[in-house]
């Protein structure tokens, strides 16, 4: 190889893709060939340049468009089947086609004698002693405790949505994130791959407690991200309560209730916070109303955990979304 230029192999050489004997031959050639050494330097520049290309998150709209197209295809297939049948039994087939065109699937129900399955628009209500279990398509189950009333809003493969009017449910979902939703009068619990309890009254007052994974509780563009072992309160007409770990000291959770109510008690919150209460403090960064308070929260947080590489104080104080997300993901390793 000493007398043969290796320009075609320079990228493989630079990236360590050559087998050991080829690599040694390339080394020998590069030692004596200035042209290939210059080529290697160019390839290295190219490799470093490509490393600058950022991984970009695909917009949510793409998945929504895929879902719509799959629904359209399913509709077309269904329509084609019924049209074929219509050649023989036009009137009957047309009637069935209309029934089947109603969007949504039916979910099995256990525990209520008169109700074996539910579809879009159906209500389910448990009495004072009764419990029920709903099999939510193929993605999980919802257990209803006594005195619980809910309705099926959407029953599609890409959107499983219930409306909890009052009572208590326990949801266990095995699907990827954002396929299961529960609306209440005070917002919506969005499954991010999880198991959780959701309790509310008719006004939406109640709480969310997460046992596995994460749940996002959302209301009018405001969000609480609740991981396993944590809870948040919900209140009608207000942003979701700030999440806190269930093992937080009593003084901390009481101060948080006051903060969520009227914005007071920040000093008590900061004073009683522990390392893992950075979950709560992280949410406070966007909830305090003055820059001075945000700085206090920030300083308390960095006393527990340093900023990860690439995230600066200015990023956090200016509420840069990507930086806040990166910090939250890093903080989760300390909870």
């Amino acid at each position: 190889m000493e007398n043969t230029h290796i320009s075609e192999l320079l990228a493989a050489y630079a990236e360590g893709e050559l087998a050991a004997p080829e690599h040694a031959l390339a080394d020998a050639h590069l030692a004596v060939c200035a042209e290939c050494r210059a080529g290697l330097e160019d390839v290295s520049i190219g490799l470093r340049a490509v490393a600058e290309l950022p991984l970009t998150t695909a917009p949510d709209a793409v998945w929504n468009a895929i879902g719509r197209e799959l629904d359209r295809r399913a509709d077309r297939r269904r329509a084609a089947r019924w049209l074929a049948a219509a050649a023989a039994l036009l009137i009957v087939a047309t009637a069935v086609w209309y029934v089947r065109r109603t969007p949504g699937e039916r979910w099995e129900v256990e525990g209520i004698a008169s109700l074996h399955s539910v579809g879009v628009g159906d209500w389910i209500e448990t009495g004072p002693m009764a419990e029920a279990k709903i099999k939510v398509g193929s993605i999980g189950t919802v257990d209803m405790t006594p005195h619980t009333r809910l309705r099926v809003i959407t029953a599609k493969p890409l959107e499983h949505r219930l409306s909890l009017v009052s009572g208590r449910i326990h949801a266990r979902i095995t699907a990827p994130p954002r396929l299961f939703f529960v609306d209440t009068a005070a917002g919506a619990a969005v499954d991010l791959g999880c198991e959780y309890d959701l309790v509310c009254d008719r006004e939406g007052n109640g709480y969310l407690r997460v046992m596995q994974g994460w749940v996002s509780y959302e209301w009018q563009g405001k969000e609480s991200l609740v991981p396993a072992g944590a809870s948040c309160r919900t209140r009608a007409g207000h942003a979701p309560g700030t999440p806190f770990f269930d093992d937080a000291p009593a003084g901390f959770s009481e101060a948080l209730a006051r903060f969520d109510g009227d914005g007071s008690a920040l000093p008590a919150l900061l004073a009683t916070a522990r390392q893992r209460d950075t979950l709560t403090l992280w949410h406070l960064l966007t909830r305090v109303t003055t820059e001075a308070d945000r700085l206090r929260v920030f300083e308390r947080m960095v006393s527990f955990a340093p900023l990860p590489p690439g995230v600066s104080r200015d990023h956090v104080l200016s509420l840069d979304r990507a930086a806040l997300r990166q910090w939250r993901e890093e903080l989760a390793w300390t909870w």
Partner: protein, 146 residues
């Protein structure tokens, strides 16, 4: 925290970053719905190429005075170098999870105590090498005495 304390902390983290070690956390830290039911998750610190890191996990236990070992599966998260460990060991007796990892020529180990709600950091041990039998026995004794 004073600026000086922060500086010391950052320097200690930077220094620690040069040494290959393992970090454990509850399942939510992985940000992966696939690992949500794992007993705990772990990741490498100070490994230049985490995607090529080798890991072996075993549950080491003592049941009715007998030593037991159960090989465990480690499941990748989408992020390279992040793994989940599932509770595949019996419920009776005293158990710890023995993690052994290799990154290029460096080794790291951990003996992880797992509670009902995830890993117990305070009761776990982190080593710059694979744990020895004596260290495993000592950790089991210590855990059993609690």
């Amino acid at each position: 925290m004073s600026k000086f304390a922060l500086l010391v902390f950052v320097i200690s983290v930077a220094a620690r970053g040069e040494t290959f070690s393992l970090q454990i956390a509850s399942a939510v830290a992985s940000q992966s719905f696939r690992l949500k039911s794992s007993a705990f998750v772990f990741r490498s610190v100070g490994c230049a190429d985490p995607a090529k890191m080798d890991v072996v996990a075993k549950a080491e236990g003592r049941v009715n005075g007998q030593r037991r070992t159960v090989p465990l599966k480690t499941v990748n998260a989408q992020v390279p170098g992040v793994f989940g460990v599932y509770r595949e060991w019996p419920s009776d007796g005293v158990w710890i999870v023995n993690l052994a990892a290799k990154c290029a020529d460096a080794s790291a180990g951990a003996l992880v105590a797992v509670g009902e709600h995830g890993p117990n950091r305070e009761a776990s041990k982190f080593l710059p090498r694979v744990a020895s039998e004596a260290e495993i026995d000592a950790a089991l004794r210590e855990l059993g005495a609690k």
